[in-house]
Subunit: 352 residues, 2 copies
């Protein structure tokens, strides 16, 4: 039998409900009930058990509870990465919601690699997480999809039709149409679009938004360039450099991705391009430093914080309220164009 000192908790073996039971002279089930505020247990016993629990520093074993069919009270968050403002804001918001609702957050960073994604979702399944927030990678493995059939999940931003129907994202089409229209109205015609590959639902929607701005304006897309690639800073940097150094550089660039924007800004800064005199730029997403860039960067401000929070509460509540009345499919449309000083009329007319 174990012995405990009253003040120190250095006892190396793990404290179980049984230890608490012995120490407080009741049975194991009484301990369990006391901790769950079971109505059948007398207030006096509850208080006593609680006192012993505190003294011994007992924590309930999640493993045992899960084995009995209980919830793990863990939620998975599967993201391409976490070291940029866009996703880290999402993580922060979701994390706080989970904490308030009594869940722990298991973070999986996939680097947009489907193998990594599969491995991590296997782990989440093994841990019997109660649910998963996922920004799906592309070419998600069939096994991943099967695994997710067994776990409540909600997609964020990107939308893979093979996964569950629940999705929260932004209106990608609208926000790129607004950004592009802004440039068109300023008189730009030779506009370049730098965005993610069409394999990403976001990439395809944003590109279609870009194109629809031309249609709205009744313009042909003659002098337009579209650069599609990985939604990474590197790709943005390379694409921007390529455009700036081309024979007939565009008079404006629209960025269709947060990390792409960073890359573009980096390239443009090192190449010493005068913005907006020689080139107008519209960025994507509005981290707080955008106002610092040059004389201020014109960007599409996305309500990612609200999006993540709304999504998190909806999801966590639908987990407890057994798939409540809420609708499945949502779009947060409220992205707005913040016009600062990186966009202006083009120096010279591009169409006569």
């Amino acid at each position: 039998m174990k012995k405990f000192s009253t003040t120190s908790h250095d006892e190396s073996s793990i404290i179980t409900a049984r230890d608490v039971a012995e120490e407080s002279g009741v049975s194991i089930s009484t301990v369990g009930r006391a901790l769950n505020d079971d109505a059948r247990i007398s207030a006096r016993t509850i208080a006593h058990v609680r006192e012993v629990v505190d003294r011994l520093g007992y924590v309930q074993s999640m493993a045992a509870r899960v084995m009995k069919g209980g919830s793990s009270k863990q939620i998975g968050l599967v993201l391409p990465n976490i070291n940029n403002d866009f996703y880290s804001t999402i993580a922060q918001s979701i994390s706080k919601c989970c904490e308030r609702e009594g869940y722990s957050l298991v973070l999986s960073v996939t680097d947009d690699n489907r193998d990594s994604e599969l491995q991590q979702i296997r782990d989440l399944a093994g841990a019997k997480v109660s649910g998963i927030f996922i920004v799906p990678s592309i070419g998600t493995h069939a096994e991943t999809i099967n695994l997710l059939k067994r776990i409540p999940h909600v997609q964020l931003l990107r939308n893979n039709r093979k996964l569950g129907a629940d999705w929260f994202g932004i209106d990608d089409k609208q926000c790129l149409r607004d950004a592009t229209s802004h440039l068109i109205q300023l008189g730009h015609r030779r506009i370049a679009y730098i965005g993610g590959l069409e394999k990403y639902s976001t990439g395809s929607n944003r590109r279609s938004g870009f194109r629809s701005a031309f249609k709205d304006a009744g313009l042909a897309m003659r002098s337009v360039t579209e650069e599609l690639g990985q939604p990474s800073m590197n790709f943005g940097r390379e694409a921007a450099a390529r455009l700036v150094n081309s024979i007939r550089p565009p008079t404006a660039i629209v960025c269709a991705g947060a990390q792409i924007t960073s890359g573009v800004l980096d390239a443009v800064t090192s190449l010493n391009v005068k913005v907006p005199r020689d080139l107008s730029i519209v960025g994507f997403s509005d981290p707080f430093w955008c106002k610092f860039w040059g004389q201020g960067l014109t960007t599409i401000r996305l309500p990612i914080d609200e999006l993540a929070t709304t999504c998190a509460y909806w999801f966590l509540h639908s987990l407890s309220n057994e798939k409540s009345i809420y609708p499945s499919h949502n779009i947060a449309t409220s992205s707005i164009l913040v016009v600062r000083n990186s966009t202006a009329r083009p120096k010279q007319k591009t169409t006569k």
Copy 2:
């Protein structure tokens, strides 16, 4: 008894080793052994079991393994927040290390709130995480400390003496001394320091670095101001505004915190202060956008990525190699001052 279709995995109940055993006509223990590549199981059986496992989409239950005394293969990461470059870089690095070593990462965001910290560490203890990375809050509860006595953990950046001895951080004193010396050498004397409270180990070390720069230069700290507060953007903004609007504003500001730096830059930008003509600024930490600020922000570049990676590998290895030969206590000193264009000689001599 359950029935499985060969192609679909929609069976709603959970697939256990027993299901695999039945389906493949061997015993449960054989399944377990096959999956652990036990030498005693024939290659043919292993292959067969594996095939069935893949077909049924079986995933081992972590809960059951943990109950048998196994490792949860989960690691906790306890941070004040995640929505800024500093901590999100740490999270990214640690996440990748954990993935490579076969661990999942449980993310806890404390907001520097000790109650939240306690709650989250209780959860981590309940989940029987194998270890914890923690940036401790201040005034950590005694119960938190007791809980951590039972869980291998390593502190990051901040150092609470009441917790375990393992710590990885930066040389806070050195980096602020370097930053301050730079300003002194440029001729500044009326220098303001904006940093975290002394309750934070980082706050106290950085302040002492600031002061030692004056000592090194043989200067009294007559015209110096020290603003101490929460290491938040808001505090940085307020402190900077206060200084700029004071009767005798400083000719230079040293920031001793990443978020404080953001706040200072924000204030200085909105107040339209001419940098470096009227005010020199040294920032803390070097996210990629620092080169965009004004003509480029002079900052202290910290090796946070390397720090986190080193720490993660050391920690994860010492978890498996039962507290290996590595030393306990580490400092990564290699922070360097990146001089850009936010620092210059002061407009007029402050000391005659």
